[in-house]
Amino acid sequence: MNFQGGPPDPLEVYRDLSFSSEPHSPFHRLAARLLSICANSATCERLFSVFGNTLTKLRNQMGTSTLSSIAELKMHVRNEHQLNSTKIWMKRMFVARSTTIPPNESSILPTLAHPPSPQSPASDETNEENEDLNHARPVGSSFRDLVSTHGSVPIEDDEPCVHSQEGKLTLSQLFNFGNDHWIKSYEKHTRKSFDEELALYDLLNEDAATGNGMEVDVDETTAEILLG
């Protein structure tokens, strides 16, 4: 999903230039692989903070399976809100500053504290290989599989691979600073997202100054929707 005003998605260009009925060409496959690598761990960290916000002082007896189910549910609710009505109620909350509490995720979730959990019965077998994964067991077998797959990835990474033989380039050798085409198109989008963030801070400050603002956890997607 590309919000209006965001940077264009390169994979959409590939999609437009290929036949929809045919499988992706080898080059398209490689490009898709490269362009879908995420360069930071911000999304995982956000997930951890969702866990932190769910397991509060008042709800500290929760088991791992309930906790992960709630986090999952929270993400689904969030997605649906983003797709449907976020823009409307975010605007209502910030712009009109209505005094009623908006139907945000945290007010819905406590009533749904017992969602069906896809938990598999935890088995007692222990083996040396995944001894340190044992604490993750009650969450469900799919999560365990995911963890063990990811656990083996670093080992694969250590396998020797073919590197460039010509040695490495420094950044100043690599780039052509004389060509301002890429600089302009890069600058346009970065500047924009920075200005949007500043605008959001102004908006929040204004809210705080009037005294009736409430504390809301605003991430950048929300900010985009709000200012878009």
């Binding site: 590309n2 209006q4 005003g5 965001g6 940077p7 264009p8 390169p10 959409e12 260009v13 590939y14 437009d16 230039l17 290929s18 060409s25 080898p26 080059f27 496959r29 490689l30 490009a31 692989r33 490269l34 362009l35 879908s36 690598i37 995420c38 360069a39 930071n40 911000a42 999304t43 956000r46 691979c161 073919v162 590197h163 460039s164 010509e166 490495k168 380039l169 420094t170 950044l171 100043s172 050798q173 690599l174 780039f175 052509n176 600073f177 060509n179 085409h181 890429w182 600089i183 198109s185 890069y186 600058e187 970065t190 500047r191 997202s193 920075f194 963030e197 991430d219 950048e220 997607t221």
Partner: protein
């Protein structure tokens, strides 16, 4: 002070976004180096040199092939940002991407791979509409679809 820190603030913002691709990271690095190279007057000399040195240090430790390849396969940039280094002539790029193909898919790239890549780099063959498509997407992202159609029909 503001001019010293602002590029870094923008860069942190970009690289910590929910969807930050590898090409964005490399272009951010390049952009930072360019900005600090411009700030080489007496007041900023120490700060700029050490920031550039620190960026170069991180970059030297990175798996450069993947970052460079991601910028190249991004149709909005291709090899445009890169300097006139022998590595960025068409055959050098083919070599780089074929190496990565083998690394990712654990098999030799088929013959059609290099032909397609050549077409992509020169915007010919099945990629002859590449530039127009890019312009259309850029314009759509800007919310100016109409303007692009006018531009293309000229």
């Amino acid at each position: 002070m503001k001019s010293d820190l602002e590029p870094l603030a923008i860069a942190a913002n970009i690289t910590q976004a929910a969807f930050c691709r590898l090409d964005t990271v490399l272009l951010t690095f390049g952009f930072l180096v360019m900005q600090y190279q411009k700030m080489m007057d007496a007041d900023n000399l120490t700060a700029s040199t050490s920031i550039i040195a620190s960026l170069e240090k991180r970059w030297a430790a990175a798996d450069q092939d993947i970052f460079i390849a991601t910028v190249i396969v991004n149709p909005f940039f291709r090899a445009d940002p890169f300097g006139r280094h022998t590595r960025f002539v068409v055959s050098g790029i083919i070599d780089l991407l074929e190496r990565l193909y083998t690394r990712f898919f654990k098999e030799e790239p088929p013959f059609s791979f290099s032909t397609e890549l050549c077409n992509y780099l020169t915007a010919e063959g099945q990629y002859s509409a590449l530039r127009a498509t890019c312009i259309r997407h850029m314009a759509a992202a800007e919310g100016q679809v109409r303007a692009a159609f006018v531009f293309l029909s000229v």
